[in-house]
Symmetry: D2
């Protein structure tokens, strides 16, 4: 059995706990969570240890994997402990909102060759990944454009939004990462952002409801990312790769494959799978599978610490474009 | 200019008149129609001649093409006159409800090599025709099954239904013909029919609301035809060819290519093109184009007198199966 | 923990074992399998008991559920033992090829009110089930037609085919059952069958490669079932319900939701999920969930012994139609 | 009969001539074309008058409609003549590449209330127009985003490209106009552009192969336009309207509605209708219908001179953004 210590038992932490618990090779040994109520819930559900001194968890030699889904501002602290204690680490995105802290940690990670996987779950989605493979198999020739649509069905609570780092760091970070995923060795050199809000809440908490970012790579690939904090018709997740000789689309997944025809409409399909837990269920499983393989063997994770760092860099540049109303060079 | 004499100015005759009139090479010289009111309408719209003695129309040497869309029981009479006067002929389906009359006329037509095209418009539909070509190009290997769905949006008036010859002769005749079209040289050897009615009207007029016919060919191809006199969601027209190495579908055409997504449903498309005039507009034009080419050159029509005869033979066999509750051998 | 004794560890038995083993509430206590090799495989994989005398398994009071996926001709024997020992029972389809044996057992089951679920997995498929619910919600008005397409990607081994009972009892049994599922209280009264074979093997083993069965219900609903033992483009599973005011389709599931566009084609999708283990993975899980609930509570299974009996009756009638070349009354 | 004088008999002029000639109410009286060869072609095809002195054409009182599809730099000249002679005018896009000339002419047009329609054919496309109507019918709530994809199957000849005014004025002008069409009374206030080229030709002629423009309206609607001068999979024409309570898409039209399934792929559809003549055939007809109605009655054209002016203004602002690498305020 592989012993896992899970840090953070909030909304996403609970999802991870369930996935970890389902896996036959994994024992959820510790859950570290500040909220008493949530800690007890974890213990009740998974019969795991609760330890108040997090350093003890790291020092426990039985712990093989550190699984970090705690609040963003604690990520680096836990990663550093993990690095020190030579654990295999999983960390949710974003790594941190402070890029300097990230750079500092990055140096240590490179030096010690820490096994660390970042929570860019979309890289593991079979559809999103298959178009990457089809791109590499030259199905559409040279890549010329990447167009990503990502809309959440409904915004998270205002309390979360306030400390989220903003739509570009919290939500679009996935899409910045996906652009880098599809670009491979090519690099993003220019970026521009527009945002907009219709609900008044967003002005109050200095966030935005909608965001569109355009970018250009060194080789000339143009990227378009369009985000929304709400989407009446579900969790809209689409990627379009436009190439010299074709186009690949990774589209939405629906509740089932039924259709209704009546006098007013035809081919009506069921709504989209509503949110990330359902939509990316396969992705989370494949990500976990890779984490276990990362623990056991010398492999490179599909989603690395550097990816976490680079995505935040792009998010920051996008905010700079917003502020200066300029195309920003990277 | 090619001079056309149109026989019958009812619902379908009027559609043909409009198509004929639009065509630059064609002059609609005569319209022969029993109803005074409709005759005057034709004259007003197309400034054509009205002639009470139909034989005079046939004897007029200026007339190049005889276009027959009059009531079914007059078809053979007009065809015979056309044959006698060496005209190029178009005739709507079904040829007649009396197969003996058809056989008699067929002999003359073969002897004199009359240029005659039958109104199986679906053979000319680009989609339906393209899957025939794809079949011949071996895209799905050897043909094993033909499945045709054909449903009218709403039944014709009861008055028409009474003299229509019944759903199998009036409506399914198109689908019998399409099966023969896709089978090519292979022949249908066995047939079975089921019918059903939910509206009381059909029992009264001795017709049926729904019909399903299954057939088997000499080579073992199984055909399934499913018809309905009503279809709440429009004019449902689908063909499926199942082969050893693939499947071809010719599907429905919709009002436009827009889609609506909302909280209850996704990818909702517009209704089907509602009825034959819209759905088969392209087919009617291509059929007319072939008729002109048939007039000018020595070509074989895609839809021949023999096809009209054979389709009726299948319809009659289907009725026999209904009556005897048996698989009928042909 | 609920203790399960699994009978039969062949292809389908192994799939069930894996599903049973994944379930947290279930302990796979016994596997009963004639083949030594397979028995050892079962023991190795699941650390279950192997017992040569099957009666001992039934008498073991720790055993809660009898799970039967052994060869068809042993089903009734094991069911009878289960009934005697008051176990909750799951049994794969078909119940038996001898309808008299089934009727005899049926009487006992009704008398003792045995908890028994039959393996008509398709009733549990979310898509197939959702259209049933939509039908009941009156989304398409009164039901008028049921059209089922079911094609296996490739035939089972000839050895299996020989003792399978034939395409209508082995494969179409699922579709007979689904027709009954959608018809609800309405009953099938007439049936007709056509079969065909292109590969020579089928004539040798007295089976058929393709089959089309049409049926009519008391209320006038027409059912069309079309089966094939092979399908180059995967496991084709489609249901179409045609009603007075609309149509519902439960369609195929594909490998992922990506599309490719290039100069030769557009909107090309990935192949279908290849076979029942993948295509009906959700269905098997939901079926198992119901079985557990059946064990725990007084519930009615969605798929009952009577359903197993009635489906075989239809299959037998279809064979009679084939033999006599007649519409068979039920 | 309505007499039309057509100016310009190039690629697009020839298409218009054919459409004009097909229309029963229209007589193609004059074709004015500088190339002798093309002039003769026009005369041969349509038996129209050829007149070297264009002013004579305008003075001819029999001429009802001036139809301008000559080179862009002659548009304003011909419009001015039309205004002077009180003709009803159609003019292709773009109006001119010099915005000052346009403004000057605009004043005259407003003063004299000239009947003039601009060739933004996409406003007349049934799909594109139906989503506008559905938006107005509140099918998706308040509009929040407009996303337009427009890609030509292949670039025009280099000779044309050189004098086209560039991708943003020549090609994206349609999409600027469509954004304004859907925005209604709302106005675009900010704009940003990225362009890119992979083929060397574009650098030479100072044009671009790909362009992405983002814009923001006064009310906060974000617009994204993505263009390409080439598209291996045909003429890609898609519009997506994202609203508070839903999304509308006007999608591509395909050669036919057939699908191919085989062992490698499923649901493969035929390619897109290849180019504007086919894709927008309906739009051209509806536009012409409106022009005739504009001639006969006091109506407002769906596409006005002001629309032509405003679209160019946006194109110019986009070029400014490119040059200054800034978000441009309007």
């Amino acid at each position: 059995m592989i012993n896992v210590a899970l840090f953070g038992f909030g909304r996403i932490g609970q999802m991870h706990a369930e996935n970890l618990n389902k896996h036959k090779e994994i024992k959820l040994l510790y859950v570290y969570e500040k909220s008493k109520q949530l800690s007890f819930k974890a213990k009740k559900l998974y019969n795991c240890k609760l330890e108040k001194n997090y350093k003890k968890v790291f020092r426990d030699k039985k712990v093989d994997i550190i699984f970090i889904s705690s609040p963003t501002n604690t990520h680096i602290k836990f990663i550093e402990e993990g690095v020190k204690n030579k654990k295999t680490i999983f960390c949710e995105k974003p790594l941190d909102l402070n890029i300097k802290k990230i750079i500092k940690t990055f140096k240590k990670i490179k030096k010690i060759k820490t096994k660390i996987q970042i929570g860019f779950n979309r890289r593991y989605d079979p559809g999103h990944y298959n178009i990457k493979k089809d791109l590499e198999r030259n199905k559409i020739g040279k890549l010329e454009k990447i167009i990503i649509t990502s809309r959440d069905p409904a915004p998270p609570p205002a309390s979360y939004l306030k400390s989220s780092g903003g739509i570009l760091r919290d939500m679009m970070i996935h899409d910045f990462d996906l652009c880098r995923f599809y670009l491979g060795k090519d690099k993003i050199t220019e970026i521009h952002a527009f945002t907009s809000s219709f609900e008044k809440l967003y002005a109050k908490i200095k966030d935005h409801e909608l965001a569109v970012v355009t970018m250009k790579s060194k080789k000339g690939v143009i990227c378009v990312i369009t985000n929304a904090r709400h989407c009446s018709f579900g969790y809209d997740q689409r990627i379009e790769l436009f190439g010299k000789s074709g186009m690949l689309i990774s589209g939405n997944k629906k509740v089932d494959s039924t259709e209704l025809f009546n006098s007013k409409q035809s081919s009506t399909q069921k709504p989209f799978l509503n949110f990330f837990i359902d939509r990316y269920a396969d992705a989370y499983n494949l990500q976990l599978k890779e984490l276990i393989s990362l623990y056991k063997n010398k492999t490179k994770p599909r989603s690395s610490f550097e990816d976490g760092y680079m995505a935040l860099k792009l998010a920051n540049a996008a905010y700079k474009s917003l502020r200066l109303k300029k195309t920003i060079k990277l």
